[in-house]
């Protein structure tokens, strides 16, 4: 059994040591993507199924790059093209995949708990690529890696997660991960988009973006899902930008430089202005690069390979 256990369904169950190990493994793997031949043989002969029951572009591509760069065989299954559209249940799908003797499943699903549900029913390793409004652990890990690269340590750093925390799987993974590594965590957004009991998760709650900016060393700005406006959680996108938008003018009043993260895709001019997203304090593209490395690390650790990291670092085309 690997250090992570069989599956990665969330950061809530991981220790500081486990999270640190993933980040430590991701660091050298990041270098693989810088090579001319971006491939190591670590997962050669293993089959990974990317099971996406919900639309996703960047997460699916990031996983696929990670798998291919580790030399795994990959199969992509989208819900619209699967038997799910014919009424097959998730457990049936899982059993069928298992019967095809796969090794790993990366699952994205609209229901909270779906990754855990699958993990408890199949022997293959399961990686949660986002389940409902629960967790998105690899996104959380890549955020942690990005912050650690900039800050050196997260101990005592103040990170505020801004926006639609209620519907965000990224927010929960961030809260668990950041707190495990010793950061102070806050959330900021309209109360209609924050879970009622969020304070009981050990985070500060700001209702004004100005307070968050004054307090934080880094802001993780969440995408405002446009359907929230139709659902009546906020009156208009325009007002959201006026009250909660991370704008250059607001950042200029900050007492210190603030790192800006965003899990993407961004609504420019809504939760974040373009000159912030593209500005000097943005680490948004670093997050994307780190995403591949973190996912390679998770695949590696779950596979429990005998090969040492030094071997991987030395490289060699598959």
């Amino acid at each position: 059994m690997s250090l992570l256990g069989k599956d990665l369904v969330g950061l809530a169950g991981l220790s500081r040591e486990q999270i640190t190990t993933i980040l430590d493994v991701a660091e050298p793997l990041r270098e693989v993507s810088e090579r001319a031949i971006k491939k190591v043989p670590t997962l050669r002969g293993m089959t990974v199924v990317n099971l996406f029951f919900e639309a996703s572009t960047r997460t699916r591509i990031s996983f696929e790059f990670a798998e291919k760069r580790m030399s795994a065989d990959t199969v992509n299954v989208a819900a619209s093209g699967s038997s799910v559209s014919k009424g097959e249940t998730l457990v049936d799908t899982a059993r069928n995949l298992e019967a095809m003797r796969i090794d790993m499943v990366v699952i994205r699903h609209a229901s909270s708990g779906a990754a855990r549900f699958l993990a408890e029913r199949i022997e293959s390793n399961v990686i949660n690529a986002g389940d409902g409004t629960h967790e998105h652990p690899t996104q959380g890990l890549l955020d942690l890696l990005t912050l650690r690269q900039r800050f050196g340590t997260l101990e005592g750093k103040r990170i505020c997660i801004c926006g639609d925390v209620l519907h965000s799987r990224v927010a929960r993974s961030n809260i668990w991960g950041l707190k495990s590594l010793g950061a102070d965590v806050a959330v900021c957004g309209p109360r209609s988009l924050l879970p009622n009991a969020i304070g009981e998760m050990g985070v500060q709650v700001f209702s004004r973006i100005e307070q968050a900016i004054e307090w934080a060393d880094a802001l993780n700005v969440l995408r405002l899902q446009l359907e929230r406006m139709q659902a009546g959680y906020i009156p208009s996108l325009r007002e959201y930008n006026r009250v909660f938008g991370v704008t250059r003018a607001r950042l200029e009043r900050a007492p210190r430089d603030i790192l800006i993260l965003h899990p993407g895709p961004m609504n420019r001019g809504v939760e974040i202005d373009s000159d912030v997203a593209d500005g000097p304090h943005s680490v948004i593209l670093d997050q994307v690069t780190n995403g591949v490395a973190v996912r390679m690390a998770v695949l590696y650790l779950l596979a429990g390979q005998k090969a040492s990291l030094a071997d991987v670092a030395k490289g060699g085309a598959a």
Partner: protein
Amino acid sequence: MSALLVKGGRIVDPSQNLDAVGDVLLVDGIVAQCGGTIAAPAGAQVYDATGLVVTPGLIDVHVHLREPGREDVETVATGAHAAVAGGFTAVCAMPNTKPVTDNQATVGFVKRQGEAAGFARVYPIGAISVGQQGETLAEFGEMVAAGAVAFSDDGKPVENTQLMRTAMEYALTFNVPIVEHCEVMSLAHGGSMNEGIVSARLGLKGIPAEAEEIDVARCILLAKRTGGHVHLCHLSTKGSVDLVRWGKAQGINVTSEVCSHHISLTEEAVEGYNTNAKMNPPLRTAADVEALQQGLKDGTIDLLVTDHAPHHYDEKEREFADAPNGIVGLETALGVNITYLVETGILTLNEMVNRMSCLAAKIWHLPGGTLAKGSLGDVTVFDPKKRWVVDPKQFKSKGRNTPYGGHTLTGQAICTIVGGKIVHQVS
């Protein structure tokens, strides 16, 4: 003549203020004598109840038997069998069947299925509105004539307040309760568990306590206006208990019930996305559980019920938010109530029996609920000290969806007698 003598048990019958060791004689399905030492008539069957508790047959006013429409999940017969296995001699069947029990013919069908099964007595509850659509009042009079004992759109609330008012007024003619599933749907808003720290952690949409309490308040005020009898289903929050307490203090004709699971489990049972802990109303907080227990103790809550809701195992074997609400309860309720209410000192055995039998008969105007001479020969014999492990595979119900699987409970039905005949017995 058929005679059955239940001998030497501790007779607990709150309807007669009786708690003493003695005998009960049933002749031709009726209680012929209760208390003291009774000589067995010639040819009488004798049941030795020494060391056991003998009570009026338990009555559950809130069960779902799924027939007609979902006989694959439960039938009236399997549900009634589960009832007697749990010590219940009578159950009231909710009308959210397919088709909805909203007319004389379907009410009669359910009643006849119950009679044919020969286990617990089955009293149909008719729908308040046609098709449970919340628009047109169903034909109460005809359904009462066919055997309906109450009216409810349970499974969902009557959202139309004017319709609810009319229902309470119209039901006065027939002296039957209007039974409300208290929920403001627009506030529950598709939630799948209690709104609080656990839902925040799990990323599940929560149902706030107020989604129940606002409807509780509305119904109490309508009962005040109309003078009708409103019975509030499956209370789950402290706020609801406080509101009912206020209503009763005002002299309003409001009664209420609580499920065995709501007095014994908290929202923590959902951890791990356990769909066998998914129900509506959802499991709440420890403070709510304590308030519900106190509400039972002080009489604010009148009845203990199960809200027995069988589902196929594969319907529960899915993503939490998509899984159906409800658990089975008929075969665990007595053990749960003794374990969590009597063993803990919250209720005396007498108080528990009152809330599981006597008061149910009294406030819903049902036969039974007493061992007084001349009443129905429905008797439950249970062992209040027997410890047993819940094994869902042994259930008589077709449903296996219980959060108590593997739990050790104290107290179990040993012998269930309906109309003077033993219909369930543990050897």
